[in-house]
């Protein structure tokens, strides 16, 4: 091994160490310790033959001329109390080290050579804390021991020891041989095998495997290939990945027996086919009947959904979750989530350029001070890490975010939900043919592009298909590297536009086994040689190479005559591309290692061999006693009450945090995430242009999610999501007849087990949510173009099971005819009239207000999709005729929050009389202010257009309830009695938690 040179870079005395200052603040605020000064050092360990002069040159270059200083060995600028050193564990992705190596090589004008490595770490020099306190600081703030190693040294120890030159080199073993595994064993032993190898397969599936090998293990072609009757470990792992819940969606495709109180049982043959694909097919047929053709371009069979947008571009959208990895390593899990979902639109059809990201998180309360079971990270830590990961992933990739949201509930302590989405644009035509059609043919080469393969992410797909335990494997954690991916994407777009490949897909869950296995369906089969795959380090068993989920990789199908040009371009662009084999017409996935066949699986068995699952679902509606009415507040009490309500975790403004996400890169952003006179009000929807090509066609993004509504009925939960997502894009001025939806289910495990007594109820919730979703989509004509499900969102820690509430995220993407006519909730001037459209009912159950009062029960907000849709059509027509100046869709927090937002965004005051609200008679003050009734919009209208608007809304419940005023006060009354009469700026202070939480 070459020697190791240590280089430290830190802040020069007299300049501010911004990171150190920030760490010191977090030590005080999060841990309540009175730490003194914190100094930080970036540490580079260069394992290479460097001369002393070269090492000094690197230190000087990394430091730069003014603020920072570098040193070879230690950078010593005086005593401290404790040093905390943090570095990666062996094999963890270290993108900074990768870039640093490039810089060193160009600086020195020579390559560092094979066997050389660069590693990075960080050193914190703390004043005013004890060693024990420093240890606590290290574990709670500075390092995650899942992926990092930490050492804590007192100043004296540090002084007495030489500079630390230890590096996290992966200990390389000889490649492990392929094993065969007999399946001729008892049921118990089959299950034990599934468990021990982390296959996450059920007994039925293990039996199906056994029966298959029993029947076909002696197949002559198999024997000719040198394989015995028993499966190899490569075959077993490949099948387990392909059959995993994560890849196969077995629960959504199961036959469900659904039973509802007192009614005969029904059989549902696949929730997915019945309620999702069936819905989209019906909507597609309706579009074709109405328009003569459909604007759905590609749905369900590819990595993301595709819809028409302009003559040149289609829109592509996918939303994913990355929950389990984010629970273990919030930063790594989340950055992998965002850069991972980037590859879905990128790998759809012939490939897409990426336009915008979306994200949404469900966390435990950040201020949680209750018991935290061992094995779980504090929700604040998870939250900080997840944000940092998605921020780095999005910003470094140059993709703006359009939508972001957070919801907090105790039940997300066990497993956070981390949704990440990406919108892309696909050329309508690629190389003379439709951009959405892949063209892999027999004989095309299988080319893997991007990062190298390591042990990171082995068993990610099967891991996410299991509940989280204290022993969850660390190798399931990957860390995304956005720069490696960005360089790969730049190269691939060039290759696409030069026609150098015939198909593309991403390497995500299941790694090569999934990407090659999926892509091989088109030509027939594939022959893959794992010994050609570039590895990060030696010692991977063939099965590990096949299923590793090491990040930043795409798989291409490349016509043989284009291969030299593709490889040359890759080399030039400093992107690794490797020919791993060929697609064939033979319907078999054959995997080789060197000269030897290590797996040979018929494609039909690989993709269709898993037994159908059966699920029992029993629906017993939970009792919902009505909520006792709270006494009406005086105006002064009302002001305090609304201020406290607005400051709730689920309603407060997170603007300053979210500004750390770029939302304007690419220069296509029209309606930004934070808008209004103070630029701190969340927009109903984000609006973007599609391209800088002179067209002003755009698209709107919005979403909605109501996990708590599942406490009453997941049917209501799902429909409320569709309804609000749709109202939001409508309020942005999008076309109502060009709205596509994505469904992302995150569920607690609906399969029975010893530790899961209410599985049948959870399964029934799944049925009810899917029915609700389907009914809404049919009524609104909104196809479901893409989706995903995550079914094991439970944590069993210390014997306690924490299950999330069933959560369906509904994401909308809608075409905007002309972005110059996009709407927001801002009124341009005082005197603008405020209209309420739709009905307000006594629907306080499961709402934010119910949570604020701490009351259970009450009626959950319900949708009447067909009726609502007739209203939305009239609103959309009024918007299209230019009658509407501002629009907003009330959601969580009801009108109390909405009216405040309307006033704040406009920089004006607002008066509203809620006794005029359309709806049933006898509404309580609470319902008027806080009900989250669906189907409602608030519209701002210039007085001269009021009559025309009212005419346009004939047949739709609507009322003029107030107007924007000069003066900056929010005044909300009902029949003369004021509920709120407060300075908007004062409410905003509470809402932004300036000066602490009220």
């Amino acid at each position: 091994m070459p020697p190791v040179t240590r280089i430290e870079v830190g802040t020069r005395p007299g300049y501010r160490d911004s990171l150190g200052t920030s760490v010191a603040r977090r030590i005080r605020e999060h841990l309540g310790l009175q730490a003194g000064r914190v100094r930080t050092r970036d540490v580079f360990l260069v394992e290479a033959d460097l001369s002393a002069e070269e090492a000094r040159a690197v230190a000087a270059e990394f430091a730069g001329p003014v603020v920072r200083q570098g040193a070879v060995g230690r950078l010593d600028d005086g005593p401290f109390d404790v040093a905390v050193s943090v570095g990666f564990k062996p094999g963890v992705t270290d993108p900074v080290a990768k870039s640093a190596r490039v810089a060193i090589e160009d600086l020195l004008g020579r390559p560092l050579g094979e066997g050389s490595q660069v590693y990075t770490g960080r050193l914190y020099l703390l004043d005013g804390v004890s060693e024990a306190e420093a240890g606590r600081i290290a574990r709670a703030l500075l390092a995650n021991e899942v992926i990092e190693r930490v050492s804590v040294q007192s100043y004296d120890q540090w002084k007495a020891s030489p500079p630390d030159l230890s590096v996290p080199r992966v200990v390389e073993h000889a490649s492990r041989p392929v094993e065969t595994v007999s399946l001729e064993r008892s049921d118990d032993a089959l299950l034990a095998l599934s468990r021990e190898r982390l296959l996450a397969l059920t007994l039925e599936e293990m039996r199906a495997l056994r029966d298959f090998y029993r029947a076909s293990g002696g197949d002559p072609a198999r024997r000719a290939a040198g394989l015995g009757p028993d499966p190899t470990d490569v075959e077993l792992e490949c099948l387990a990945q392909t059959w995993s819940e994560h890849c196969k969606h077995k629960i959504m495709n199961a036959t469900v027996t659904y039973q509802e109180d007192g009614r005969p049982a029904e059989e549902i043959r696949s929730i997915f086919k019945t309620y999702i694909r069936g819905t989209t097919e019906a909507v597609d047929a309706a579009i074709r009947a109405r328009e003569g053709k459909s604007w759905l371009v590609s749905v369900f069979h590819d990595n993301a959904g595709v819809i028409e947008a302009t003559d040149r571009w289609h829109l592509v959208y996918k939303v994913e979750t990355h929950n389990s990895p984010s629970a273990l390593d919030p930063y790594g899990g989340a950055i992998t989530g965002i850069v991972g979902v980037n590859r879905d639109p990128f790998g759809t059809g012939m490939g897409s350029d990426l336009l915008a990201n979306t994200w949404g998180y469900c966390f435990g309360p950040p201020g949680w001070d209750g018991e935290l079971p061992p094995g779980l990270l504090h929700p604040r830590r998870i939250r900080d890490g997840v944000h940092a990961g998605v921020i780095d992933g999005g910003n470094q990739s140059g993709i703006p975010y359009g939508r972001g949201w957070e919801i907090f509930d105790d039940r997300f302590l066990g497993k956070p939900l981390v949704y990440c989405g990406t919108v892309g644009r696909m050329p309508v035509t690629v190389d003379g043919a439709p951009g959405e059609v892949k063209r892999a043919r027999p004989g095309d080469r299988i080319v893997m592009v991007g990062g190298r393969i390591g042990k990171d992410g082995i068993h990610g797909a099967t891991f996410s298909s299991a509940e989280l335990t204290e022993e969850s494997p660390v190798q399931a954690v990957q860390i995304g590297d956005p720069i490696t991916q960005k360089m790969m994407f730049d190269f691939l777009l060039e290759a696409r536009d030069r026609g150098l490949y015939s198909a593309i897909t991403d390497n995500g869950a299941g790694g090569l086994s999934s990407s090659v296995g999926e892509m091989a369906k088109q030509p027939g089969g594939a022959r893959l040689d794992l010994s050609r795959a570039p590895l990060k380090y030696q010692g991977l068993a063939p099965w590990e190479i096949l299923v590793s989920e090491a990040q930043e990789r795409m798989t291409l199908s490349v016509p043989p005559e284009k291969l030299p040009a593709l490889l040359e371009l890759a080399h030039l662009r400093e992107v690794e591309a490797t020919d791993l084999g060929a697609f064939t017409a033979d319907p078999v996935l054959q995997v080789e290692h060197g000269g030897r066949v290590v797996a040979r699986i018929p494609m039909t068995f690989l993709h269709d061999g898993d037994p159908e699952m059966r699920v029992d679902a029993v629906w017993t509606p939970p009792a919902r006693p009505s909520i006792p009415l709270a006494p009406a507040p005086s105006a002064a009490e009302g002001n305090a009450l609304v201020a406290a309500f607005l400051a709730r975790d689920n309603l407060r403004s997170a603007e300053s945090l979210e500004r750390t996400y770029d939302h304007e890169v690419k220069g296509l952003t029209v309606v930004k995430p934070w808008i209004g006179a103070h630029r701190d009000v969340p927009a109903d929807a984000a609006v973007f242009q599609v391209a800088h090509d002179g067209s002003t066609t755009g698209y709107a993004l919005a979403e909605a999610v109501f996990p708590t509504y599942s406490d009453a009925d997941a049917h209501a939960m799902a429909q409320a999501g569709v309804d609000l997502a749709l109202r939001r894009v409508l309020a942005a001025g999008a076309r109502l007849d060009r709205v596509a939806l994505l469904d992302n289910y995150c569920w607690p495990d609906p399969l029975p087990g010893a530790r899961n007594p209410d599985a049948a109820h959870k399964a029934a919730q799944l049925v009810r949510a899917s029915r609700g979703l389907s009914e809404s989509c049919r009524a609104h004509g909104t196809p479901l173009v893409s989706g995903k499900d995550s079914m094991k969102n439970d944590a069993v820690v210390g014997g306690r099971r924490i299950s999330i509430p069933p959560t369906l995220l509904v994401s909308a993407i809608a075409v905007v005819r002309d972005v110059r006519r996009a709407l927001t909730l801002e009124a341009g001037r005082a005197g603008t009239l405020l209209y309420a459209v739709g009905e307000t009912a006594d629907e306080l159950g499961c709402t934010e207000w119910a949570a604020h009062r701490g009351v259970a029960g009450g009626g959950v907000p319900r949708c009447r999709p067909a009726l609502f849709h007739s209203w939305y059509e009239k609103v959309a027509a009024a918007v299209a005729s230019g009658l509407v100046a501002a629009a907003h869709a009330p959601g969580r927090g009801g009108l109390a929050r909405s009216l405040f937002l309307l006033a704040r965004a406009s920089g004006l005051g607002l008066e509203a009389d809620l006794s005029r609200l359309p709806g049933p008679a006898g509404l309580t003050w609470e319902a008027r202010l806080f009900s989250e009734s669906a189907g409602r919009l608030l519209l701002g209208v210039e007085p001269e257009r009021a009559a025309a608007l009212e005419a346009a809304l004939t047949g739709v419940p609507h009322a003029r309830i107030g107007s924007w005023r000069e003066g900056g006060r929010l005044r909300v009354t009902a029949a003369g009695a004021p509920f709120v009469d407060e300075d908007v700026a004062l409410l905003a202070r509470a809402w932004k938690r300036e000066g602490g939480r009220p």
Binding site: V9, L19, V66, A103, S397, K486, K666, G667
Partner: protein, 266 residues
């Protein structure tokens, strides 16, 4: 008149090339987007000196690892120093936006020597924002009318989005900073609501002394700035557009104005 030719190097994590190319084209320039590896390998048919303008775009070259612009600057110095020197000796103009500004600073092209040709010796740095972390928010900048900078000539106060985590400009000494100021080499300042240069957050997003948002070289032909003129090309980019549409549409978008000034400069 022949259109001005603009070279925009791309790759390695730069990411604002589309909107920057659009901006140059909107003001009549002809733009070539060329991958840096093609420039390094001399595979591009033109030399840098064949262009009048070099656009160093924003992004995250090499993830801003080690420090913003550092790795890219190291590579450019290793592979393109002579080409750049020839381009600058021929009167070439350079616009460096955000990551491009960081790279030009690391290369020593900004602020550059007090006189004479570029010496590629860095004498200033763009370091971490005083409030640690990236921030995307619009700011207001005012040009210094005394400045020789061709990119800000004739401009008034501009609104632009600011999107960075390492934008605090620090010179080697207060004296060096005073000399830069006196010679008009600090052509853009963050200003407050009253139009006065400010060091206070959030009007000044990074805490730069004197409100420095942009720096130019002695010739005035090289400008580096942290805010993104490439993201204010259309009136609807402006955050107040929904409420002040008529007023905003009455003026050329501020970002475009910078590109126009630099491209039309003679």
């Amino acid at each position: 008149m022949k259109p001005v030719r603009v070279l925009i190097p791309v790759g390695f994590g730069l990411n604002c090339e589309d909107e920057t190319a659009r901006a140059f084209r909107m003001v009549g320039a002809e733009v070539d987007l060329v991958h840096l590896t093609d420039l390094f390998a001399r595979r591009h048919p033109r030399r840098i000196a064949d262009y009048q303008v070099l656009g160093m775009v924003g992004g995250f070259a090499y993830g801003d690892h080690v420090a913003g612009g550092l790795v890219l600057a190291t590579r450019i110095r290793a592979h393109l120093k002579a080409d750049l020197a020839a381009f600058l000796a021929g009167g070439g103009r350079v616009l460096g936006i955000c990551n491009g500004f960081q790279t030009l600073t690391r290369l020593g092209l900004l602020p550059g020597p007090e006189s004479g040709p570029p010496d590629f010796v860095p004498t200033a740095t763009l370091t971490q924002n005083e409030r640690l972390g990236y921030r995307d928010a619009w700011v207001r900048v005012a040009p210094d009318p005394r400045s020789p900078c061709v990119w800000t000539r004739g401009l008034g106060i501009l609104d632009l989005p600011s999107r960075h985590g390492e934008g605090r400009f620090v010179a080697t000494s207060d004296e060096a900073l005073r000399r830069l100021d006196a010679s008009g080499r600090l052509p853009l300042r963050y200003v407050d609501a009253d139009g006065r240069p400010t060091e206070a957050w959030p009007d000044n997003p990074n805490g730069s002394a004197l409100g420095i948002a942009g720096v130019c070289d002695g010739s005035g032909r090289i400008l580096g700035l942290m805010p993104h003129p490439d993201a204010f090309l259309y009136p609807w980019h402006h955050p107040d557009w929904p409420r002040r549409r008529a007023e905003i549409e009455a003026r050329e978008p501020g970002g475009l104005a910078i590109f126009r000034a630099g491209v039309e400069a003679v």
